[in-house]
């Protein structure tokens, strides 16, 4: 047994085990047939028949590079070890399913870096997502991410936040912010506002200062904005990553419908990457909307707009040298890398590029719901992204002391890497540096 297989076998995860305890081969085969025949797009056949196993994608994957080029971590290798046994294997055992689940949920960030390097354009993330979909329908999902998906089902947010707790947080942040700006309001349910601002669950739960900062930025920029007071305020979506597309659709309907009900012109989203993927790409399309039914603007675009239009002014640039980590979902997924650099340039004196960068940047290792799979998989995630630590260390050697990244997941992933590899760097959101440097 190779090392990767040994690691997989050693994993004990309650979510996977409880699903596997119900294992029924006939049922699993029926689910696979249904997914392949009724759900998979022609892309599946196209990708499987066109992959020539050339291995050109291998060097693009941070897992493969960080695991000393172990083929088990190459993009095509992961498809071979997870999807193919489900599609082509005569016999499917609990072990087959467990391995497929572990690889698909925790050895791939669905970051789509490899797709850029495949001469035939094979989208590995799509194939890995199909494996997750099958695993979800079989009830074999890692505990932590399934619990988050359960929270979405129960509360329509990622953190089991009840409606009063959400509202309470907004009132509390308004009160706090009024000490700095007595005129400030956090408008709740303002029908007809230009902007609905939506965030992810961890903001009210753990990072309420981001709501405060957003309110100050909106106020100073003179934006006619609102927060929803109802379900639909949270734009996050772990169901997209577990493969529970029905619930993903339900979440996105609630989010867009809230914006429609409030009659806003557009949705501005906080600094999150996966939520952007869900709202801008995956969730809207699942529901039948080619593009988001209400224009969606990521925080990077929004900050770029208000800074270049001089709706807010920077009082004094940040002197500490910074580098920038490009989040996959808004850079490979939306091309916001230059805008983000311009925002950093407006707020910071010294900017040091990480290498590689922009659309070639490596994933933080947390993306694709991998960090949400929790402690049983943390080691794999951190060791599987040694190249990110090397990138950070190289930027640090050039003087960068802060790494700026406009994505919650990237914050989580980078924090773990910084901690594990002992890199002395601080991580900040764009709104942190804007708030710190702007005229208030």
């Amino acid at each position: 047994m190779n090392e990767a297989d040994q690691r997989i076998e050693a994993i004990h995860d309650e979510g996977l085990e409880s699903g596997l305890a119900q294992f029924d081969e006939d049922r699993v085969k029926k689910i696979i047939k249904k997914v392949i025949e009724e759900e998979a797009s022609p892309r599946l056949d196209a990708y499987l028949s066109s992959c020539v196993h050339c291995g050109l994608c291998s060097d693009s994957c941070h897992y493969y590079l960080s695991r000393d080029k172990d083929p088990a971590y190459s993009p095509a290798g992961k498809v071979k070890e997870s999807l193919l046994p489900l599609l082509r294997g005569k016999k499917i055992t609990p072990e087959t399913l467990k391995k497929a689940a572990i690889i698909s949920y925790t050895h791939c960030n669905l970051c789509r870096r490899c797709t850029m390097y495949c001469p035939l354009g094979v989208d590995i993330a799509y194939l890995i997502s199909l494996v997750r979909r099958i695993c979800y329908l079989c009830g074999v999902v890692p505990l932590y991410i399934q619990d988050t998906a359960n929270s979405h089902s129960a509360t329509f947010n990622q953190m089991w936040i009840k409606n009063d707790e959400w509202l309470d947080c907004l009132y509390w942040q308004e009160e706090e912010a009024r000490e700095e700006l007595p005129e400030l309001t956090i408008p709740i349910e303002r029908e007809g506002a230009d902007v609905m601002y939506s965030v992810i669950g961890p903001e009210p739960k753990f990072r309420a200062q981001l709501i405060y900062q957003a309110a100050v930025i909106m106020e100073k920029a003179g934006i006619n904005w609102t927060f929803p007071g109802t379900r639909g305020w949270d734009n996050s979506d772990m169901c997209m990553y577990t493969g529970d597309y029905e619930m993903m659709g339900r979440l996105k309907k609630a989010h867009f419908e809230t914006a429609m009900r409030l009659k806003v012109d557009r949705i501005v989203m906080g600094e999150c990457g996966h939520a952007f993927r869900s709202v801008f790409d995956t969730g809207n399309r699942y529901l039948g909307w080619k593009t988001p039914p209400i224009p969606v603007v990521h925080a990077v675009e929004f900050y770029h707009e208000i800074l270049t239009q001089e709706r807010i002014t920077i009082k004094k640039k940040l002197a500490t040298p910074v580098t920038f980590h490009d989040p996959c979902n808004i850079v490979r997924g939306r091309g916001l890398h230059e805008m983000a650099r311009e925002v950093v340039g407006i707020c910071c004196d010294t900017f040091i590029e990480m290498e590689p960068n922009r659309e070639h940047n490596y994933c933080c290792g947390a993306g694709g719901g991998v960090i949400n799979c929790g402690p049983p998989f943390k080691n794999e995630r951190v060791l599987g992204n040694r190249v990110k630590a090397e990138q950070l260390l190289a930027a640090k050697a050039k003087g960068a002391e802060i790494v700026v990244t406009p994505c919650h997941n990237c914050h989580g992933g980078l924090e773990d890497i910084i901690h594990h590899y002992g890199i002395d760097m601080e991580i900040k959101f764009l709104s942190d540096i804007i708030y710190e440097t702007m005229e208030i």
């Binding site: 129960a154 089991w160 007071g229 429609m260 529901l287 039948g288």
Partner: protein, 432 residues
């Protein structure tokens, strides 16, 4: 008697009622800070209320009445939320004081104080309800009376339009973080003022209740991958991979809901598929008030949206979205709002009307469907779109227009700027 949407009650059916009053810009508030977006007019239009910040910590509800020179001001409170009209001339709202949250309906605060209150609902029949949390227990209240039971959480409280009934999704069992087993065992159901249903579901989403309060239904998740509709504590015998919120026939005789079949979405009635068509998407079903027609928003192909009326698709397609359809009180006409090519559209009986506004609100119809009107926004101004034409007025705030029951007049209520001050006007527009 139920009051049809967009039709005003008979008592203020008078064409001599056009009046206005001045709202002086308060010296203690810069004009751009005057929160007109929070304004609410009474249902008869004779009064307008605005919560105004009286100090950094406190606010008051200021109410102007047509014909009276001075506004009345409520006692100062910490927060006023969810302000809305109740009955003909009154208001209801949630308010926070140092003692906690309560609701005020028709100027009377409820006795109950909770740590938190939200989601104030007011029915056409004049009932008011809200959700509350006290000591981490969640208890809806109706007309000042708490429900018979408290829960781990409540969601989506809704009131019967005319009767006293209320319903909400309730969580009956706590779920510790990471406890998949309890979640899978089913911790949600529908609750009413009398208590929870006996069925427990893994999830329940959008509760609905018939206008007399005798039928309640909800879209429920009964296993991780199976959804159905539960009606008065009975699940439909069929399940689907997904369903959307149900709608109850106005007479309470049947329940309908969009369900996802393998070939696409369709409409089911009382557990059986009722429409022949299969669509990329189908949601927001709604009945005509007389119960003879049912319309829903449909996507016949990816990225295209239209209305489906009694199972037939309309011809107009939009590429953005369409919202829940609205029938005229007599059921002969149907309209809805949406977005096409990035611009707001109003669809009336399959005729799109756009280009004349930036935003449009749900249309209202006269009793027999001969007139249709909608509040619209053009640039910073609100006005009314009536039978295909915009009325040449510029309001900085306005509420939805309403027709008099005889169909002779349209009532518009709005605020206009005049000099340093503002005028609130209620106006009757004679219809041809």
């Amino acid at each position: 008697m139920p009051i049809a949407q967009g039709t005003s009650p008979i008592i203020w059916d008078t064409s001599s009622g056009s009046m206005s009053c001045m709202i002086p810009c308060p010296v203690d508030a810069p004009s751009e800070r005057f929160p007109f977006w929070k304004a609410t007019a009474s249902r008869d239009g004779t009064r307008i209320a605005i919560p105004i910040q009286s100090s950094p910590e406190e606010c008051q509800l200021c109410t102007w009445t047509l014909g009276e020179p001075e506004p009345t001001r409520s006692e100062p409170v910490l927060t006023i939320a969810d302000l809305q009209p109740i009955a003909d001339q009154d208001f209801s709202f949630l308010c926070q004081t140092d003692e906690g949250w309560t609701a005020v309906a028709r100027n009377v605060p409820w006795e109950f104080q909770a740590e938190f209150a939200w989601n104030l609902r007011v029915s056409a029949g004049g009932n008011a309800a809200c959700e509350t949390q006290d000591d981490r227990r969640y208890t809806p209240m109706v007309n000042g009376n708490v429900w018979s039971e408290s829960y781990e959480n409540t969601y989506g409280l809704t009131l019967a339009a005319t009767g006293p009934g209320s319903a909400a999704v309730v969580q009956t069992t706590p779920i510790a973080e990471g406890d998949l087993t309890t979640f899978l065992s089913g911790c949600f159901t529908l609750g009413t003022e009398k208590g929870p249903w006996s069925g427990r579901y893994m999830g329940a989403f959008t509760p609905v209740i018939s206008s007399d309060g005798t039928v309640a239904a909800v879209d429920a998740r009964i296993t991780q991958q199976d959804y159905t509709i539960a009606v008065n504590d009975q699940c439909w015998p069929t399940t689907w991979p997904s369903v959307w919120a149900p709608v109850i026939h106005p007479q309470g005789t049947s329940v309908w809901a969009p369900v996802k079949e393998s070939r696409g979405w369709t409409l089911a009635c009382d557990g059986e598929v009722a429409w022949p068509g299969r669509y990329t998407q189908l949601w927001e079903p709604v009945f005509a008030p007389n119960g003879r027609r049912i319309a829903a928003v449909a996507s016949p192909e990816f990225g295209q949206w239209t209305l489906a009326l009694d199972g037939d698709l309309m011809k107009t397609r939009v590429d953005g979205y369409l919202r829940k359809p609205i029938f005229s009180p007599c059921g002969s006409r149907v309209g809805c709002t949406g977005m096409h090519k990035g611009k707001a559209v109003l669809l009336i009986d399959d005729h799109p009307m756009g280009d004349l506004f930036d935003k449009v609100w749900d249309p209202v119809f006269s009793q027999y469907g001969s007139h249709a009107a909608a509040k619209i926004k053009r640039g910073p101004w609100y006005t009314v779109f009536l039978d295909g034409m915009a009325i040449e007025r510029r309001f900085i705030w306005m509420r939805n227009p309403a027709f008099t029951p005889d169909g002779m007049h349209l009532i518009i209520c709005g605020i206009e700027k005049s000099g340093a001050h503002y005028h609130y006007t209620r106006e009757f527009i004679a219809l041809k």
